[in-house]
Each structure stands twice: as structure tokens, then as C-alpha cells.
Assembly symmetry: C2
């Protein structure tokens, strides 16, 4: 029997339990009694059974089946429900409540670009929605199928590295390849390489998803966001195939391939990309970590590092006071001798802030950057904690996402939102959003900076709060709206790396201005005149 | 009396004479006798006197005059001719021959964005061509006015820095500001800054031109091309005003502002940009230079530097054997004791190659990068020449452009072409183009690499050749065509930083593919539905 839980869980053993430290935080912050920790709220263990019937007519379905073969098309309820949602809190709730009102009619696994061209031709002719599907890790309602149609899953047949060119330091990779497989391939290729892109979703996201959503990895301060890594790509659109050439840089009109980075499936199917790769030399990587007396001094040190021409670290991260406090508690560091010692030195909870640093590259580079960062941090009264906290953080860096399911079982909302902001607006935005978040009585609101630039940084908000049982969707929607509005009012971008999807679409016109949105729409209308690509207001576009 | 020469000369005293070293090269390579060095071929000293009449009707002209005021509109022959061409060899020949067949009807100096909106409204309604005009340094026929209309000169009233934000390390600057004024402003502002963008045309180019043509400066290896520096901009298009917000990065659809970087005036008028600035600390800059035994080893050393994670130099440059030979000759180094010594050591002319390096940033960074580059260069058998050659080169780095006029007076073509290419195609492309260039009997063909990336580099070709008197245009057009075709056949981009203009437009479809060109056209048609912006096939677009 296949259940809704089988859909929303990742299938990773890290998601089955909550660590002791987190349990203690839940008890302390939310007042949970031991008995309440055994809850199985909205557990989602019903069998998947869809009400919505398949809208596609038999003839078309047969035609599609002929193209890809029986083994590459699914129309059963589980497969359809399994392609109806990504992984936002909103979507997870929907699945837990067995509310799948607009699943795709069919899930298709194209074998080749030729298959995709044929499928798009049929869908374009018959106005059938097509939603590209990768690792399903979207947290912006980006892979939902409000217009039904087909979900085009690229992970089965578009999951190979097509070429590695060591002279050029590039790889050409298919869009449906998952992060770990790609990285492992590169780590073992020739002189050993790394893709340099490690989003929180790394384990369950695909290269195509990275590009479509315009993501950023945890080493982005050194290697850049995905848009800085892509040199060329191939995209199949309803209007034709766009394939760009691979150059280190050029000046032959504006860069066409940039149009598809952040297109979120609205313009066509990205089938392959050629991207930069970097030498994999973990033995050269240097780590350090600091504790600062407060958020402001940590932010100022970080900004100074980015603007001093010392080179850049790859991982660069600050946890704000509350995230630092929770980290100390969950790692059972709270109340230890070292904790007391830090308090005596003036690094007091809950004002103090952790900073993590890792630098990749040649030995001389990593040494120079680390020692420059140490010098700058000292000026801002940081206390060095050495390499170990950063290494420990890196070891479990993908794990926190797996807490979502057991926390939701306890009726606790867990969600994240993120923005990019210029340095001078960072502290005001952080304060304003925190103030808003704290309008809920019981709330853990952790903030970190994890992607850093000369001119500003991102702010990443993680919040946990027990919800009113049965009213989660309303409560969440209302709360979420207030956060976005507070971010926009304080000059933050709608998103730094999650993307927009349908979740943030209502704010796009206000964000971009109608002229920019109209330009995006014109591009959409040219490439996808019948509006079949990931329709339903993705990015604020019509239809 | 105002002559055609008054138009094509920069008015810089460096262009009045040819240095002794260059004279010797001309004698040696082209066999010029002393008497021939007194030539004044196609000197262009006729008074400017235009045949083409003004096509704009009086009513419209009056209306335009009302908008900007009499003092900001010119319709005299000299002003019109002065806005009919940029600075390519083709255009300089046209001016020398007094062939100005499609000058603009009027030159307008808008005082404000409001003026521009009004002017575009009138021109859009009446289908009048509008060509944005900055520093006139285009070498791609990018500011020509084949459809007449008006030339919109932004240098008179759009030449100010609007804001410097030291916390964010950004400046907002109007598009008509010239490079030196902008840099001087920044050098003297607050904690002292630099724009970091120094194209060969720096002294006579504007910020808007940098952006519109997608240029690169001589420190681009460290600071990136102009597209890597721009955070946001304001553009007035016939369809409305597009103003993007300033973020360090974002993921809210594809980046709209990137559409205008490389748009070459075809989409609208860029009025201001917000760009990154960097701390100005020349006291930290480190310089070095090397000589390599041959081009291949210099290129391999350069590639190794870029792919080793040692950080990046800012200026990074190799002269190929012929450029190195000419540099030695023109700097009167040829035949000196040091020259002989280098030959004895195995750095033989004409195989040896010069490399220049400068690194900016903090002291520890510049020291580390310089010593890493020295170590790598040693592995490729380079001989260190110390800081002095690079410093000397930097002192005169903008001067070579001023040789064009006195050389053309002698009937010598001087032209440049450039491309970007992946590392594995660099030597084959260089060889093929050189082979083609050498199909002319008397030719000096110098090549350098000046913009370097992890994945490849540019190749910049400078060639000098005596032309058949009276047949220069045909001879040049034919020769130029062959170079482009050789570049394309060897996987080079149409341009790395000069842009496309009308000069390279005929190759755009082959370069991009019809689907990409159609997408560009759709964007053009949306923003400029009546096709008034810089029309006449710029970028290969219609009209």
C-alpha cells in the first residue's frame, strides 16, 4: 500500500527521529509535555487515492505512450500524486491532508531530446500543460500542476555526464542528474574535480533544478551562484530548440542563455548545460570559526572581509543570536564549562553569534585568506573557535531538512524564507522580519547569512512554531504573507536562491514593476505562445 | 573651417606623430622610403559639407527644439557628420573620403529623463530613428545612422555620479559620463575608490557605452567584464521605463537588467547604472613580467594560473611572438645587450613571448598571488623581467590607439579584431587567423591575450598593412570578411568585448542560430515595436 507519506518523505533515515537537543528545545520553547512528543499529527498514512480523473483523451495518451514506450509513462494515482507537489510547508500539508486537487494526468520519462520535441509538439498542438520535474525539492510551489497535463520527469533518462573537458575545466551534464551522482563522477574523473555547487537540497536536487530555480550552493561566496557557473545550455521550447555556444565570455548581444537561468520551467525544457568545474583538493581546504559579541559586529567583519581585496572564502556563514543559541542548545554545548567561559569573556547568550569559514584553492591561497579573515575578525573582537565547529557543521550540513517531517508530525510548522539585501539594509531588514516573526507567541526564529557578496548578502530565515490543529493552512498562509511584505518593505529581494514559483508569484509585479514583468511575459509568449510550459502563474506569468 | 579630420581625430596630441621605433618598423616591414613618410594620404582636410538634406519635417524639429531648448539641438553639417560614424577603420576611411551618406538629421542633447521620454514619444509616433551616442569610440559601426533620424548625445547632461554608497561599495552613475571623470571622482571620494573598468577606449568612452557594448577593461581578469559589475539600471524604451532594483544577487526570474548589457542601443536609452566599485589602493598593487620561450608555454602557464585556485591577477596579458618582436623593436630594445642575453638563454626572437601581470587588493593577497604566479611561470621555463616592463606598459596603455591617424595618413590600414575562445581552441584559432592574416604580402599581425578566465581567454588581433591607394574600402572589406570567417570556423566568438554593431551583424545568425536570434528579435519587437532604436541591422536585428 502506497501512502501520501511515501510521497512527502525523502526516504532518508535521518528523517525518522528528532535528536535529543532539538527535543529539549521543543520542550523549553513550546512547552511540549513528553506525551505530546508521541503525536502523529496529519501523518499522511492513508492510501493514495485520487479523485480527479485523467483529463487527457485516450488518443493523445496512446500517442504519448507510443513515443516513449509503456515503461516510460505512468498514469496510476500514486505516480500522479507523487508529481503534484514539491516540498514547501504548504505542499507538505496538502499531502498530509490528502488534498491533491490538480495532479498531472500522466508522468512521462522522456528517453531523448527527440522524445521531448515530439511530446512538446503534441502538447503544444493540444494545449496540454507540461511541467518539467527534477528532484522535487522545490519549496516555492514550482513543480505543482494546477492545469494538470503532464509532468515531464527527467531523472530517469537525462542523468548522465556527457563530457568533461579538463583543459577547459568544464563539464557538460544532463539536467536530470542528481547532485551527489554528478559530484561523485567529477571527484573521480581525471585530475579530480568538483562541481562547486552544494545547495541545502544537494542530495535530492538535480542540475536542471539548480539552473531553472537560479540556486546557490553553500560555497557560493567563493564559486558564485549557479548563474555564474553556466557557460551554455540546450533548451527545447515549444517554438524550437535553443542551443548556445560555449565561450569563456563574449559580447555578441545580451546573453541568451541567461534567460533560462531562473526560468523555472516556464520557457522550455533545459536538457543539458555546460558548466565550470573546479579542481577537487579537499586536502588544501582551510577552516575556521569565530564567535562574535553580537550580530552587528559579525556582519561588519563579514562585510570588511568581502570589501578588502583579500580574496574570498567559499563557505562564509553567520548565525544570528537566536540561531546561535539554538545551535548551542541542540549540540548540548549550553551550560558546559566552555559556554560559561565564553560568557565570562563577554560572548553572552543570546547576543553572541557564530561565524563559519572554509576556504578552498591552492595551499598558499587558503592560508592567506584564512589568516586575513582572522586578522579582520580580531578587529571586530571575535573569539576564535578553531576549525572544528565548521568541520562539524559541514558534516551534517544537509541534515536539518530531514527534521521537517518528524516536527510536522508534532504539529510544528517548519518553514524557511530567504532574501538578498544590500549591506546597508541588512540589519534593518533582519530586525523588522524578526519583529514580525515574533508576533507569534511560540516561535523559534533562526536567521543566518550564508551567501556573501561585496555589496550585500542573503538572509535566511528558518522558523518553527506549533500550529493550531486543523487550521494550519490558513494560519501559515497569513503568517507567510506578512513575512514577504515585511521583506519587501525593507528592500529585500523576493528571493535569493529558492526562486519564485507560485508561492511568491503574487508579489512579482510589485517587485519588478509592470514594465519588467511585461518584458518577461513577452519572452514567455514568444517561446511558448500557447502557454503550455509550467502554467498557472509561475513567476507571476500568464497563464 | 571645420574639416572631416576634425571629426575623426580625437584631438589628443599623442596622435600627431609616430614614434621612432614604429617608424623603423614601417621601414623594415613595409619598405617605406623616408620620402614616403611625409605622405598625407586621404588627409580629410576638406570642409564638412553634407549633401544629404534634413529629412525631418519642420514641425517635428520645432517640437523637439521646444523640448530641449535651442542650445541642446544641432542641425548644422558638422554636428551631423560628427555623429554619423564611430572609429572603425571603415568609418575613418569614409570620413577621410568625405563620404557621409546617411548622417542624422539632428543631434539632440537631452537634459533629463523627462526630455528623453518626450523625445522617444515623438520619434516613436513618427517612426524616426533614434541612435544613442556616447563617446563615439565604437569600432563596430555601432553608432552609425543608416536611417538618419536623431542622434541622442548623452555626454552633455548625463555625465554625473548620482550617488556613491561606501557601505555597499557601489556607485550610481549616469550613462554619458566619460571614464576618466568617473574614475577621478571615485579616486577622490570618501575612502577612495576605483571603477575597476579600463578598456583601451577608456579616455574617450562613456559608462553607457561600456554597458551597451558589453565591454571589458584591462583589469577584467580580476574584476570581470562590465556585465559582472552592473547591479541595476534604468532604461527608457519606446514601450516604457524599465528600472531594476539593486541587489547583490537574486532569484526572481531571469535577470532583466542583463538584457540591456550588450543591447547596443537597440532596445532603449540606458540613462543610469548602479555598479560595483572597489577600494583604490595603488600602493598595494604588485607587478611582474616574464618572457617565455614560446606562445604555447606562455598560454599553458596562464591557463594553469587561472585553474589553480591561487586567486586571480587583475591585469594578465601575453603578447604573441610577433607582438613581442614589434614591442622589442618599437621600444628600441632590439639588439641591446639584454636582448642578446635573452637570446643566449634560449628566449629567442621571434618565438619568445612577453607576459604582463598586475595584482590589486590587500597586501597579503597581492603578495600571495604574485608569488604563486612566479612559481607557476617558472615551471613553464619563464624568465622573470621584474615589475618594470608591466609598469611601463601601463603608463602608455591607452596610447597605441592614437597611432591610427598618422598611420592612415601614410596609407597604412590599422585595425583590430577580437574573439573569445575556450582554452583547447586557442592555439588552433590563433594559428589559423595568423595564417589567414599572412595571406597579405606586407602585414604586421600582432596578437595578444588580455582578458583571461578559468575556461578560456580572448585573442586580440592588431594588424597593420599598406593598402592599395584608392581601393582601401574594398580591400579592407574583403580581408576583414576572411578574418571573421576564420574565427568562426575555429570556434571563436564573434566578439569578446567590442560588440557586434553593424560590422559583425551579417554573421550573427550563423553565430547564434536562428532560434536565439528570433528570441532577441522578439525582445526588440516588444520594447521597440516601431523599430526606431538604433535601426539598420545593429546586432543582426530588424529593421
Amino acid at each position: 500500500m502506497k501512502t501520501y507519506r511515501d510521497i512527502f518523505k525523502w526516504g532518508d533515515k535521518r528523517e525518522t527521529t528528532i535528536d535529543k537537543g532539538t527535543i529539549n528545545v521543543i520542550k523549553e520553547k513550546f512547552g511540549y509535555a513528553d506525551s505530546e512528543l508521541e503525536q502523529k499529527h496529519l501523518y499522511g498514512n492513508q492510501e493514495v487515492n485520487l479523485e480527479p480523473q485523467i483529463q487527457l483523451n485516450k488518443e493523445i495518451l496512446n500517442h504519448l505512450t507510443e513515443i516513449v514506450g509503456k515503461e516510460n509513462i505512468q498514469t496510476d494515482d500514486f505516480s500522479r500524486a507523487n508529481h503534484a507537489f514539491g516540498k514547501s510547508y504548504y505542499e507538505l500539508l496538502k499531502l498530509r491532508k490528502a488534498e491533491v486537487s490538480t495532479p498531472p494526468d500522466a508522468v512521462i520519462y522522456p528517453r531523448s531530446e527527440d522524445d521531448i520535441v515530439k511530446i512538446l509538439n503534441i502538447c503544444n498542438k493540444n494545449r496540454i500543460a507540461v511541467t518539467p520535474f527534477g528532484g522535487q525539492s522545490s519549496v516555492t510551489r514550482g513543480v505543482e500542476t494546477p492545469k494538470g497535463g503532464i509532468s515531464l520527469n527527467l531523472t530517469k533518462h537525462f542523468n548522465k555526464v556527457l563530457d568533461v573537458n579538463e583543459i577547459n575545466s568544464i563539464a557538460t551534464v544532463q539536467s536530470g542528474m542528481f547532485g551527489p551522482a554528478f559530484e561523485e563522477y567529477l571527484n573521480n574523473y581525471g585530475a579530480k574535480y568538483s562541481c562547486g555547487h552544494f545547495p541545502q537540497s544537494f542530495e535530492y536536487s538535480t542540475v536542471g533544478g539548480w539552473v531553472a530555480a537560479k540556486g546557490a550552493g553553500q560555497a557560493s561566496t567563493g564559486y558564485g551562484k549557479i548563474e555564474n557557473m553556466i557557460l551554455s545550455m540546450k533548451v527545447i521550447t515549444p517554438s524550437g530548440i535553443i542551443e548556445t555556444k560555449t565561450y569563456p565570455a563574449s559580447a555578441q548581444g545580451w546573453d541568451i542563455h541567461q534567460t533560462f537561468i531562473g526560468s523555472e520551467g516556464t520557457l522550455g525544457i533545459i536538457t543539458q548545460v555546460t558548466m565550470k568545474i573546479r579542481k577537487y583538493r579537499p586536502e588544501n581546504t582551510r577552516y575556521t570559526s569565530f564567535i562574535f559579541k553580537n550580530f552587528e559586529s559579525a556582519v561588519n567583519a563579514m562585510r570588511t572581509v568581502m570589501q578588502s581585496g583579500i580574496g574570498v572564502p567559499h563557505l562564509f556563514r553567520i548565525s544570528d543570536p537566536e540561531e546561535t543559541e539554538i545551535a548551542f542548545k541542540t549540540k548540548n554545548f549550553d551550560g558546559t564549562f566552555a559556554d560559561k567561559f565564553l560568557n565570562v569573556l563577554g560572548y553572552k547568550s543570546p547576543e553572541r553569534c557564530l561565524m563559519f569559514v572554509a576556504v578552498e584553492g591552492s595551499k598558499s591561497y587558503t592560508n592567506q585568506v584564512i589568516s586575513s579573515i582572522k586578522n579582520i575578525s580580531k578587529r571586530y573582537k571575535a573569539f576564535s573557535l578553531g576549525a572544528s565547529p565548521t568541520k562539524k557543521w559541514l558534516e551534517q550540513r544537509y541534515s536539518s531538512a530531514y527534521l521537517r517531517d518528524p516536527l510536522m508530525d508534532l504539529g510544528i510548522m517548519t518553514d524557511t524564507l530567504e532574501t538578498a539585501v544590500m549591506w546597508d539594509n541588512l540589519i534593518p531588514l533582519w530586525s523588522a522580519v524578526r519583529k514580525y516573526l515574533k508576533t507569534r507567541e511560540k516561535i523559534v526564529a533562526m536567521v543566518h547569512i550564508s551567501h556573501v557578496y561585496e555589496n550585500g548578502a542573503n538572509l535566511y530565515f528558518t522558523f518553527l512554531s506549533p500550529m493550531k490543529k486543523g487550521d494550519e493552512l490558513n494560519e501559515y498562509t497569513e503568517y507567510h504573507k506578512g513575512i514577504i511584505e515585511t521583506i519587501q518593505a525593507n528592500k529585500g529581494s523576493l528571493s535569493h536562491h529558492h526562486g519564485v514559483g507560485r508561492m511568491l508569484a503574487p508579489w512579482m509585479e510589485n517587485e519588478l514593476g509592470i514594465e519588467s514583468l511585461n518584458l518577461m511575459q513577452a519572452i514567455k509568449d514568444h517561446l511558448d505562445p500557447n502557454g503550455i510550459m509550467n502554467p498557472g502563474n509561475t513567476l507571476g506569468l500568464k497563464p
